[in-house]
């Protein structure tokens, strides 16, 4: 362990790299998570895993905001009426932002998974390579067929649609 430390400490670049890792580890984690999420979205052929990658990507951004708001020794930013504002406070704004972003992320995941269910019902697979083949086999035929389906399916569509975010999923035929 000390050996590794000595080796790292020998070069200036390595020293600064080590310094970054030890003092700014949250930012390093942010960059890593971001890249892992992005790589997962690009490289993984499975649609649900792409959505998991998307979630990782977003979580990395939450981490960035939370880290930036952290103040060493800062207190909760609630000031009782009449009390003097002498303490150091943690900035509440980034936390509010993250709360909102989490809500957005959850609804996105919901829509994404609903679409996945629809795709699985239709094609029986969630792998993009297989899907692409199936779509290619379909050719441009779905254009007209889709249109016909749509006009016939409108009546039950009105009755069974669960909601905008949840359309698809459970009510699909």
């Amino acid at each position: 362990m000390t050996g590794v430390g000595a080796v790292l400490a020998s070069g200036t670049a390595a020293t600064s790299a080590l310094k970054v890792v030890t003092t700014r580890h949250a930012y390093v984690a942010f960059a890593l998570l971001l890249c892992v999420g992005l790589y997962m979205m690009i490289a993984n052929p499975h649609l649900v895993k792409k959505i998991i990658g998307l979630n990782l990507f977003q979580t990395a951004i939450f981490l960035l905001f939370i880290t930036s708001a952290y103040v060493d020794g800062g207190a909760i930013p609630i000031v009782p009426s009449g009390a003097a504002e002498t303490e150091t406070f943690v900035s509440p704004l980034p936390q509010v932002i993250v709360l909102t972003a989490i809500v957005v992320g959850v609804s996105l995941t919901a829509v994404g998974l609903a679409l996945c269910i629809r795709i699985y019902d239709e094609y029986g697979t969630l792998r993009t390579d297989t899907l692409r083949e199936l779509l290619r086999d379909e050719g441009s035929i779905p254009e007209r067929a889709q249109f016909g389906d749509e006009t016939t399916a409108t009546d039950d569509g009105a009755a069974t649609d669960g909601g905008v975010a949840a359309t698809g999923g459970e009510t699909d035929d």
Partner: protein, 534 residues
């Protein structure tokens, strides 16, 4: 008190969005009337906001009486008022088409109103993070609406858009996070001041922030390397949704790009960071060229116009990157004009597929004989897209082109001339695919059984197409024949929904009429331009 218009304009569609689902428990088919009322009210508010801006200039509203920069501010100025009027009118007009073309059902109209509310908010907000929230509201509802016809292919296209669109919005959020770290504020105007005060234009954090924001918005706008979601989404979405998306969703993202570039980061930032503007111009140029070339290669109508959007938004991004007054004016005019043209074109394509089942360019042989007014209006809109004067498409391209040359003449290097050349080449490509369409409309029936070559090859191609084909009385003799239950009207031979046809013709006329309004448009945007380039 007039500033209350701003939050109410956003609240109307969002609150109304809850009604179709809630009332849907008791009544069927209540969605369309609610959506129609809400968007009509929104058109009224948009008109009022526009009038207010015309009379008194920029005005703003502090939400919940928390004063900016702490609270969220809603702002209307010349640019946002113009885009808001486009959003309101197009969303009302699309409803007329969706009534006959579907998708039907109350949940669809809830999503529709939520989307309109998101677009309104996106246009009016004066806060960077609030912009992200509205961007995501627009995104989520668009994903849902693309898949509204419940087919597998549209679900796949929608999921593709979801993944890429979310990455785009997330990159935008990272950018906002960086600029927040640099300045500690989120209000657009305050950020503008704080960047100068606390960081400076050469601060890597600010530069990275702008780069992330541009990359994120480029994904949302569908500029060239990251446009891959867009053709599928446009093609697979139901026709009414495509018309709405093509006219508004990317347009408001491009509006956000202009807003962030000029109101938040300012033209001085762009001037101080040559590398960034050059990169933006390169992306814009690539987008213009590849979009046009790919569009010329398509045979599916919706896909063709989808790729054409990639090219047109490349021009708007180019106008942002050129950072001079004329180019930005062109960018803003083209933003409005392109929205209008694409609404008309996708509406026309949707009407043709509804009435004649024609979705590919090969299916369209001598449509002009069957549907003279529809074909004529589409031809006019197509020529406006090419940029034949007088039309709004010409104005936008012209100003961007002049601005590009100007920027080269005033020491901006070769990039400006490059953009001008690229726009010229793209115009030729646009002419290629629009001419192919017109050739199909007016000449392709020649020699086919029942076709009258003399009628169809009448030279009056560009005057709206009324002369060329109106005397063709044998309605079902041509190679294009109406589908079984195509709507019928006693006024026109076109077997398309009459209300949509009226709108289509109106859109074509507006596109031409606005072509005469170059000075009026320049005057309208002048206060914004002088503010930005002060």
């Amino acid at each position: 008190m007039t500033d209350v218009l701003l939050p109410v304009a956003i609240a109307v569609p969002i609150v109304a969005a809850t009604l179709p689902i809630a009332l849907g428990l008791w009544y069927e088919d209540v969605g369309w009337p609610i959506a129609a009322v809400a968007t009509t009210v929104l058109v009224g508010f948009a008109g009022a906001i526009g009038a207010e801006v015309a009379l008194g200039g920029r005005f703003s509203h502090a939400l919940g009486t928390y004063q900016p920069p702490v609270g969220i501010e809603l702002v209307a100025d010349e640019l946002s008022a113009a885009v808001l009027v486009l959003v309101a009118t197009v969303s009302l007009a699309v409803l007329a088409f969706s009534r006959v073309a579907g998708p039907r059902g109350n949940p669809f109209y809830s999503g529709y109103l939520l989307l309109v509310g998101g677009l309104t908010g996106l246009v009016l907000t004066g806060d960077l993070f609030n912009l992200f929230v509205f961007l995501e509201i627009v995104g989520i509802t668009t994903y849902a609406l693309i898949a509204a016809d419940r087919s597998g292919a549209s679900a796949y296209a929608s999921l593709k858009y979801l993944v890429l669109g979310t990455v785009g919005a997330s990159l935008y959020l990272i950018g906002v996070g960086y600029v927040f770290l640099a300045t500690g504020t989120l209000n657009m105007l305050d950020v503008q001041a704080q960047i100068v005060e606390q960081a400076g234009y050469a601060d890597p954090l600010v530069q990275a922030s702008y780069a992330f924001i541009v990359a994120g918005l480029a994904l949302k706008i569908a500029l060239f390397p990251v446009h891959v979601w867009q053709p599928d989404a446009y093609q697979r979405a139901p026709d009414a949704v495509t018309a709405l998306m093509a006219a508004l969703v990317s347009t408001t993202s491009a509006y956000a790009l202009i807003r962030v570039s000029y109101t938040v980061f300012t033209v001085d930032f762009l001037a101080a960071n040559d590398a960034i503007t050059t990169a933006l111009l390169v992306v814009a140029g690539a987008s213009i060229l590849s979009g046009s070339a790919l569009a010329a290669m398509q045979s599916d109508l919706k896909r063709m116009f989808a790729y054409s959007s990639v090219a047109q938004f490349g021009m708007i991004a180019g106008a942002v990157g050129l950072a001079n007054e004329t180019a930005l004016l062109g960018g803003m005019v083209h933003l409005i004009g392109h929205g209008l043209l694409k609404f008309g074109l996708f509406l026309g394509v949707g009407m043709l597929s509804l009435g004649y089942g024609a979705r590919r360019i090969e299916d369209l042989a001598s449509v002009a004989r069957e549907a003279p007014y529809t074909a004529g209006a589409i031809a006019v809109l197509g020529l406006a897209l090419v940029g034949i004067p007088p039309s709004i498409g010409f104005l936008g391209k012209w100003y961007i082109g002049v601005g590009a040359v100007e920027s080269s003449l005033t020491g901006g290097g070769a990039a400006g001339v490059g953009i001008a050349v690229v726009i010229f080449v793209s115009t030729l490509f646009t002419l290629a695919y629009v001419a192919r369409l017109i050739e199909r409309f007016y000449f392709a029936g020649v020699g086919l059984p029942g076709g009258h070559g003399d009628d169809a090859s009448d030279p009056a191609v560009t005057d709206g197409g009324h002369g060329g084909a109106s005397e063709a009385s044998e309605a079902d003799a041509g190679p294009v024949s109406p589908v079984e239950d195509a709507p019928r009207s006693s006024w026109v031979p076109d077997r398309v929904p009459p209300a949509s046809l009226a709108l289509l013709v109106l859109t074509a006329l507006t596109a031409v009429a606005l072509g005469f309004g170059g000075f009026a448009l320049a005057e309208w945007f002048d206060p914004y331009l002088t503010e930005v380039f002060a």
